[in-house]
């Protein structure tokens, strides 16, 4: 390796990493599967089969702040979010779910998935409390690791997405 290559590598290494350099879809999927078994039920499977999300969706997410900063976002149809809530509550699920129950349960799934994603990332990061609502926007399409799955035949997506816009491409003084 030449001196130039070493310097170049260091310069590239100093740049802000994008998520695809840090974690891959297979790891995110295995994290999600473990969360599902623990929270939703041992018999509950997430199938790696992409399906189109309905128009009425709900997202829950946690923010990770550290060497990589972004959000771990779980998105599903509102009805699926309610079914997930019932699965988590099991016998204590009320006949009519309150919005508060869905926010709590759907947020907790994002919290558990996000905590495991955080633990898989290098360096020290902080994790936020979960939020539920409309997903944070994707700021940099290169800084996204998204998996699309189905649960009980309904689409569920998990997006690990950066919070920051893409860095400007450095100007080359010697084109």
């Amino acid at each position: 390796m030449t001196v130039f290559e070493t310097a170049e590598r260091r310069r590239v290494g100093d740049a802000r990493p994008v998520i695809t350099e840090l974690i891959d879809g297979t790891t995110v999927q295995s994290i999600a599967e473990e969360a599902w078994i623990s929270l939703v039920g041992e018999e509950e499977v997430l199938v790696p089969l992409p399906a189109e999300l309905p128009a009425d969706v709900l997202s829950s997410w946690v923010d990770v702040v550290g060497p990589w900063t972004g959000s771990v976002v779980l998105t599903a149809g509102r009805q699926t979010a309610e079914e997930l809530t019932r699965a988590l509550l099991r016998e204590s699920a009320p006949e009519v779910l309150e919005e508060e129950d869905v926010v709590d349960a759907f947020g907790e799934i994002a919290n558990v998935v996000g905590g495991s994603v955080k633990a898989a990332l290098p360096g020290q990061s902080a994790l936020s409390l979960p939020s539920v609502g409309t997903s944070p926007e994707v700021r940099n399409t290169a800084d996204v690791c998204r998996i699309d799955l189905t649960w009980r035949g309904e689409p569920v997506s998990i997006s690990v997405q950066g919070a920051l816009p893409a860095l400007p491409v450095p100007h080359d003084p010697h084109p």
Binding site: L88, L89, D104, G107, V112, L127, L129
Partner: protein, 120 residues
């Protein structure tokens, strides 16, 4: 035994209670707290034999609760049940005097691994 479960998620408190039962610890009194401040207060008023606490909670985190308890002279056995499962967090928990850290997602076997000998 009296076990205090602190988590700002009501659903998660129920899952922890259910998992305790599945792990065979089903004959114990359970007290719930909805954040670290509530847990701190209930340690004083309810005098539990064990605290199982989340880490990230509003008002007072689980770590702040543990530190406040130890500062006040409380020696109540305290373990985390948290989505913060990294080595860094395990180290911080142990340094602050936590007996164990159970990372979410967990199973009833994980509970048995950490709680056998703690819950009697």
């Amino acid at each position: 035994m009296k076990i205090l479960i602190a988590d700002d998620s009501r659903v998660m408190r129920q899952i922890v209670i259910r998992t305790l039962r599945q792990a065979g610890y089903d004959d114990h009194e359970i007290v719930e707290a909805e954040d670290g401040r509530d847990a701190y207060d209930k340690v004083q008023s309810e005098k539990p034999d064990l605290v199982l606490s989340d880490w990230n909670m509003p008002n007072m985190t689980g770590m702040e609760c543990l530190e406040a308890l130890r500062s006040s002279g409380s020696t109540v056995p305290f373990g985390f049940v948290t989505s913060e499962g990294s080595e860094e967090m395990r180290g911080k928990a142990a340094d602050a005097g936590a007996m164990f850290l159970i990372a979410k997602p967990f199973t009833s076997e994980t509970f048995q691994d950490h709680l056998d000998g703690v819950i009697v």
